[in-house]
Symmetry: C2
Subunit: 143 residues, 2 copies
DNA sequence: TCTAGTCGTAACCATATTTGTTACAACACT
DNA sequence: AGTGTTGTAACAAATATGGTTACGACTAGA
């Protein structure tokens, strides 16, 4: 499967901003975050742009610019983050429609869709269990 | 996310073979299956090769060759199929290791790993609930 | 033994997604 | 006015999936 690190990077980014703000700073720059994540600042800015659309962060431009959380870490679950950045489903149906003249080809679509709906619901339910506050607490525990 | 139709195609393929055998045929060819799935026979053969490694199907070569189920539809869950064909995890950690000198960069890995383990367990648990016998029954219901 | 049909697999291409990178205009604080 | 950062476009690299052609390996049956 196309291993996808977007959720990891997003959680890292938000947790970093949260900790940075908790230490008294107003805004965090994409440059600072990129250093911790070990990637390019543009990657962080792109991701933060999506998180802003979802209302999780806000940004300030000009000199002394940067990013800040819109909501408290405790009120943001990994499901919120996931929904902000993941577009498509985990599993897809056929790329090209199967033979409608075949019993299986005709009926398999709705059946698999029902299964995938349940799977995604389970996945979302699991992600909803963890808040970024939980993540930060456990991160500090590791260190 | 890179929408992945492999599980759909695999379930379609196995269900097709199961129904075909139930109608009195001994083996199914990749050509027949590919017609129902609407793809190239090589794609089916590649997938069936992985399913054979997992012990779900077997093949016969030479004239009158083809594929047959190794186990009954009722004894194969979608989790069995998933594990036979999916290699990597749904979510990945950082591509490049984050800054170990940063508290978040240092601790985020283990924390997200724990979350992802729970998510995958939930996903697998959901897939384990459905057997290919269930799939075939529902497919016939749709038609 | 020959023939025909199918598997098994390699090789290659097309497409899509993610990630990394450079570049630069827009913006706002000092 | 100068400076630092966002916002965004453009492009390249890497990876995964899916489709296609090609061909040797194999075996049932003529």
């Amino acid at each position: 499967m196309s291993a996808n690190s977007r959720l990891t990077i997003a959680a890292h980014t938000l947790t970093w901003i949260g900790l940075y703000q908790r230490r008294g700073h107003e805004v965090a720059t994409s440059e600072q975050i990129a250093t911790s994540v070990n990637t390019n600042p543009v990657v962080i800015r792109r991701l933060l742009g999506e998180l802003r659309k979802a209302g999780l962060v806000d940004s300030r431009r000009g000199a002394g610019a940067g990013w800040m959380l819109s909501r408290d870490l405790a009120s943001i679950t990994l499901l919120d983050v996931y929904q902000a950045i993941e577009s498509g489903p985990v599993f897809a149906l056929h790329r090209a429609a199967p033979d409608p003249g075949c019993v299986v080809g005709h009926g398999i679509g709705p059946v698999m869709t029902a299964v995938y709906d349940d799977v995604e619901a389970a996945l979302r339910g699991e992600l909803a269990k963890t808040t970024l506050e939980d993540v930060l607490r456990d991160v500090l525990k590791v260190a």
